[in-house]
Structure formats: C-alpha cells, structure tokens
Amino acid sequence: MNASDFALLGPPLIAGAVVLSTHVPLGRQVLARGIIFIDLAIAQLAGLGVILVHVMFDQPGGSTVQFAAFLAALGGALMLRWAERHWPGVLEAVIGVVFVLAVSAALLMLANDPHGGERLKELLAGQLLWTTYDDLWLPAVVSLLILGVWKTVDVAHSPTVFYALFALSVTLSVQLVGVYLVFASLIIPALATRGRRGSFAAYSVGLAGYLLGLFGSLMTDLPTGPSVVWAMATVALASAFLRRTKPQTSN
C-alpha cells in the first residue's frame, strides 16, 4: 500500500456521504415509527421488480430496469403505509412477511433463469469499492431533491410522503453500497444518537464509520462493505459509551 492507493477511497467515501445524507434523517423516522426492517423488505421488492422486468422483456435498458425497481419499491412502500394505517399493532410482522414473500418470489422466478439470480445479487450486494465518480451523479441529485422535499414537508405528519421518499432513496442506495450497508447507514447512526436534537452527531457517527471502515479495508485488504458495517457499529458503541460517562448537556 502506498500513498496513491488512498485515492482509491475517494469515490466510495463520497458514495457513503451521499447515502448518509438521506439515510440519517430517514433512519430517525424509521426508528421513531418502529419499522426497523422496512429497508430489507423494500430493497428485496426493488430486486423483485428488476427480475420481473428481465422475465418480461429480453435485454431491457438500464433506465427501464431502474424504473421497474423503483416502481416495485414504491408499490411495496405504499402497501406498507396502508398496513400501518389499518394494522398498526402488527406492522413489523407484516414487514417481515413481505420480506420473505419477496425473497421467495424471486427464488421461484429464478427457477428458470440463473442470470436473474446474478442480477438480484448485484442489486442487493452493491459493491462500495467499485463505485466511480460517474456512478454518483444520479444518486447525488436525487438525494438533494429528497432533502429538499424533506425540508419543505413535515414528514413526521405526512407518512405517505415519507414512504415514497424512502422507496426512492433505498432503490438507489442499495445499488451503490448493498443492502447491509443501507441497513447500517439507516439504523446505526440513528440508534447511537437517539434522544439528541439536531443531526450533527448522527452524521458524524455515520461518516466516521465510513472513513474508518474504508481505511481499515485498505490496510487489511478485507472486503470493503463488511468492514464499514463493523467500523460504524464500533464508532456508535464508542460514542454511546462516551455519552454515558459524560454529564448530559445536550438534552
């Protein structure tokens, strides 16, 4: 490893920042609503949309695939919003059932198309390290739009808007960083900083996790995505421990 190798970390670090920009506020909502596993369900539904498109059309274009992924994710998100209204007591269970149904439907469709299997894997196992600056334009622009809506609409009181934004955000981020890092970026910073006003601490935990994980991956040559998940959890634990030992001033 030499100095020029650190340049490798540029695009993945920006990708992490783009994902965190929307996932920190989204994650706090997810935690507040008690729908922790919604991102796994939505990501699987996005994957299902992709497989469906490949089953229906031969060689679909990239934008068609993206659109199908988003539509499936949006449909699932709105359905979950409906479930939240009508079966609030068992929402997490419904989300779990949707998740296993989406996974099983994918497996059933793939019984005759192994390439779909590769596609599902690609879609859910986005590889942070392969990201280039060119890959980041669309997610960055869409993230800015999402943040714009977030600022103008009170999402805590417009659940439908929240669910739609969530579907859009997860569809894009899962392809950049993969489903485990999406889950980590949503939940870990929000969890570590719950009860604090302002998002600075949550963003710090997330970014420090990406930085530490990327450098750790570079030093040890271990796979990048899992390294970042562990680094983020470590940073979160350390920050929670520090808060506990310091006198509370922030609340």
Partner: protein
C-alpha cells in the same frame, strides 16, 4: 498523472540503461494462470493472484488490493469468455490502467488461445447460466494448457522484449516437461475412457473431453441453478460410474445420489491449490488422475 508518466519514463530509461532489474508486474485473475506465469516467467515476474482456489471466479468480493495491483500491472492474465464479467470490468474501470484494457497487449485472455467447447448455437436464457462464447473452464485440459502457454509466452516476449530469450528458453523447458507429463497422465488414465460421469457443475467439460469420459448428467438441473429434489430423483434412473464435484460445491446432493444408487462420488481440484498437494499445474493433474484411478481400482 502527467508527472507520474514522466517519472515512469525516467525510470524506464534508467532501467534500460541496465542500472537495475525491474520485475514484470502480472495480475492473474485465477490461480491456474498465476501458476502458468510462474512456470513461464519464473523470478522475472511479480505475480498477484486476484482469486484463490476457495473462491468462485464468477463472483468476487471487492477488495482494495484488486484495484491497487491492477493499477500497477504490466500484464493481466484472465480466462475470458465472460467468466470474469461480474467483476473484472469494474476493477478495470477503477484501476484506470490503459495498459491492461481489453484489446491491449497487456491484457491476455486464455480462452482466446484455444477452441472452446459448448459454444451455444443461439443464446437462450431459459437454458441456464450459459456463456455465449462457450464454456470458459479451459484450465482442466492439459492439451489446452500447452496451447495457452505458447500464446502467453509470446505475449510475455512482446511486452517485455528485453527478456525474450529467457521467456523462450523457459517455454521450451516447460513444454518438454509438460509433454512428458501428458504422456504419463494419458497412460495412467487409459482405463477411464468411456466412463459415465455425473458432474455437479460444468467446469469438468474439458477434463472429460481430454480423458474420453462421458457426461451423462449433472446435479444442477441447469448451469448455475442449485440441485433440487425433483431433478435428483430423475438422475437416480440414470446409470453412471462416478460423480465428480469440486471442493467449492455442496456435497449433500452428491452424497444423496450415492446413498440412493451406490455410484461413488469423488472430489477433484478444479484449480491449482483447491486441495492439498495440488500447488502447481503438474501436481494439479497428478492429483486429478490419481484420485480418478483410486476410485477405479477400489
């Protein structure tokens, strides 16, 4: 970047002046090609193997060293025929090393040097994980290994002309030893001709082709699709002499079929280093032939 290039050319000039002896940086996509480069270039090359025998070269986890090592490579040696399409294009995109892009002398695909089997007349996705260019797993036919060695040596001589005499000599030496080993293996494996084999996945196509063995079925109903009960029950009706799988495969389907039919299963190394004692190309085929013969003479 420009500075880099300038310092590179200065460095090159120094090297050509004979003040130092630089090594050729070789990035090998799979362990079998790392082993072949070692035979053909010896200590002249510093070799990095991108995958090890315990990994499926179709799918590779992103590690920083893949990009870093391709960035500084003079030559990349891969299988081609779409085997690495899941990851190599991304590594190339991020490494941004013009020397090792497809079509450049610094990018060598083993499948370009040989004729491929199982080239589909037309691509039908319903037929499973079919490679459009043909079956890419050419490393298991020693006759093809020799053809690939000749092409690879020519490429080494092309990109590193100052050592071309050495590469030629090493190729002659390798080819002589390989021919001798080839006759020995073919003599030892004569009894295997015509044996009916159930394979797990089709990485064995070239091995069976070389040994004159016959594939009568595969545990995967279609390439890349895991075995299922209905398909295995059908396979039960199929008379066979042995089942072949690699250490990467789940052994349960093979064990089930053995318990149902009594047909023995054998685990063979699919590449260099896949089982202990198969650490170079010679011991790879020694191990394969020995394990098949042990099964034959049970």
């Amino acid at each position: 970047m420009r500075n880099n290039r300038l310092s590179m050319s200065v460095l090159l000039a120094l090297l050509l002046a004979g003040t130092a002896q630089a090594k050729l940086n070789v990035f090998a996509c799979e362990p079998e090609w790392a082993a072949l480069v070692k035979e053909l270039a010896g200590d002249e090359a510093s070799i990095f193997a991108a995958t090890h025998a315990g990994q499926d070269p179709h799918h590779v986890e992103a590690r920083p060293s893949l990009i870093a090592r391709l960035r500084s490579a003079d030559l990349a040696v891969c299988t081609g025929a779409e085997l690495e399409t899941g990851w190599m294009p991304m590594v190339q995109r991020r490494a941004r090393n013009p020397k090792v892009l497809p079509g450049q002398p610094g990018y060598f695909e083993a499948t370009d040097a040989v004729t491929l089997l199982e080239k589909p007349a037309e691509l039908d996705r319903a037929e499973g994980d079919v490679h459009g260019d043909g079956n890419p797993h050419v490393q298991l036919d020693p006759r093809r290994i020799l053809e690939i060695a000749k092409a690879l040596s020519a490429r080494l001589q092309q990109i590193d002309g100052s050592n071309s005499t050495l590469y030629r000599r090493r190729l002659q030496d390798f080819a002589a030893r390989w021919q001798a080993a080839l006759s020995r293996w073919q003599g030892d494996a004569g009894a295997l001709r015509g044996r009916r084999v159930v394979v797990h996945h089709q990485e064995w196509t070239y091995l069976l082709d070389w040994l004159g063995m016959q594939r009568v079925g595969s545990l995967e109903p279609k390439p890349g699709i895991p075995p299922n009960m209905a398909h295995l029950a059908q396979l039960k009706q199929q008379p066979a002499d042995l089942i072949v799988l690699s250490p990467l495969n789940d052994e349960k389907p093979a064990e089930w079929l053995t318990s149902q039919t009594g047909v023995p299963a054998v685990v063979l190394p699919q590449t260099v280093g896949a089982v202990s004692g198969s650490d170079d190309l010679f011991s790879l085929f020694d191990t394969i032939v020995r394990r098949l013969n042990d099964l034959e003479h049970r």
